[in-house]
């Protein structure tokens, strides 16, 4: 999963593809969601700003991965998955950096 250049003119769910490995001039937030060591492939990652307001959401990839291109600053990553699973973790994004946030549910 994750946004790639190919979908930059859309607003929607990006195609299933590898996470970026170079941040370039972006403030990348990426990670994976796992449960008991296995990827959670059905679920959603939501990015909330420092005020707790929703900013963006992506479906988890088949490997449990997610990725956002955020603005620099502090964010909260919230995971929703079937069975009423919810988890949250804080992350700080910076331009030119890939900030990892791996979530265990």
């Amino acid at each position: 999963m994750s946004g790639t250049q190919a979908v930059a003119d859309g607003c929607g769910a990006p195609a299933d593809s590898a996470l970026v490995t170079e941040a370039g001039n972006q403030a990348v937030v990426q990670g994976t969601v796992t449960q008991a060591g296995a990827p959670v492939s059905t679920g959603y990652a939501r990015l909330l700003n420092s005020g707790g307001e929703f900013v963006a959401e992506v479906p988890l990839g088949s490997d449990g991965a997610f990725q956002f291109f955020a603005a620099p600053g502090d964010w909260t990553l919230r995971v929703l998955a079937p069975g009423g699973i919810r988890a949250e973790q804080g992350v700080t994004a910076a331009i030119g950096k890939i900030s990892r946030v791996d979530v265990v549910v």
Partner: protein, 279 residues
């Protein structure tokens, strides 16, 4: 028009998914979601391949819409139930198309694909075979579509609702945060536009908030329900979601979706742009 005319829930879909005259349609930008699993009997519409003109920057014309629906086996008198990812953004966008081209009986599955998945309901990979139909569209209903000159004229005169995220509204981001940020255009928003992100109209599971909560949301943002309204976002699908709220759920008249949205407005020469978080 009331909520039950335009929204159905999962129980309704499960009870009616095999009924003749009911066609389920999944609409996505990332159609690999459909390929991995969809609601039994649902056909797919690809937001980009099927709904956009391949050459001009515009959406599919009347003949193209007729050909698409005919090919999908959708008839004029079918009840079309749309759902999709991204909290129904693209399904709402398709809903707006169906209305533009005069299809009467169209509904959204409340919560879209997300709620269906989070509730662990059945998804199948089997693609239904539907015999081709003969669909006839009406001429576009221009009362629900805004063009750029109308948006410029609406500055300070009509409700302009920018439904993008606050960072996009302020000009700090040029795209939603799950997409790369490079764009050859200016950031900011149309002067006098109110920023009411589409997401404020939805619960976390993707369902629409109650009519009372929606009324309160827009009233609090300073929207005058006695005035005409134009909604926009970046490419017109998030604002189709808000158009649906105003026109279909709240029953507001004179509500238009500006599908050119920020990718057009933010690239126009000479139009006014406001930066920052707004008043």
């Amino acid at each position: 028009m009331s909520r039950s005319d335009v929204l159905v829930d999962a129980a309704w879909v499960e009870a009616h998914q095999g009924d003749p005259g009911i066609v389920l349609v999944e609409v996505d930008e990332d159609t690999s979601a459909y390929d991995k699993g969809h609601i039994r009997g649902a056909v797919k519409i690809d937001w980009k391949q099927d709904l956009q003109d391949p050459v001009r920057r515009d959406f599919v014309d009347k003949a193209g819409f007729e050909a698409l629906l005919s090919k999908r086996g959708i008839s004029n008198d079918d009840t079309v139930v749309l759902y999709g990812g991204n909290n129904n953004w693209f399904a709402a966008y398709a809903y707006w198309y169906f209305k533009l081209y005069g299809h009467h009986n169209v509904k959204l599955l409340d919560g879209g694909r997300k709620k269906w998945e989070l509730d662990s309901r059945e998804l199948v990979t089997e693609v239904p075979e539907r015999a081709a139909a003969h669909y006839t569209a009406q001429e576009q209903d221009s009362s629900i579509r805004a063009f750029r000159d109308e948006v410029v004229a609406a500055i300070g005169a009509k409700n302009l609702i920018d439904v993008r995220s606050p960072d996009e509204f302020a000009g700090r981001l040029l795209a939603p945060a799950h997409l790369p940020q490079e764009q050859a255009q200016r950031g900011g928003h149309v002067p006098t536009a109110k920023n009411v992100p589409w997401s404020k109209a939805a619960e976390e599971d993707g369902t629409f908030k109650s009519d009372d909560a929606l009324q309160a949301l827009y009233a609090e943002a300073g929207v005058d329900f006695g005035t005409d309204t134009i909604a926009y976002c970046r490419i017109g699908e998030r604002s189709a979601h808000t158009w649906f709220v105003f026109h279909e759920l709240l029953g507001q008249q004179n509500v238009k979706n500006y599908d050119g949205s920020w990718t057009e407005y933010g690239s126009l020469v000479g139009v006014p742009i406001e930066l920052g978080d707004g008043a």
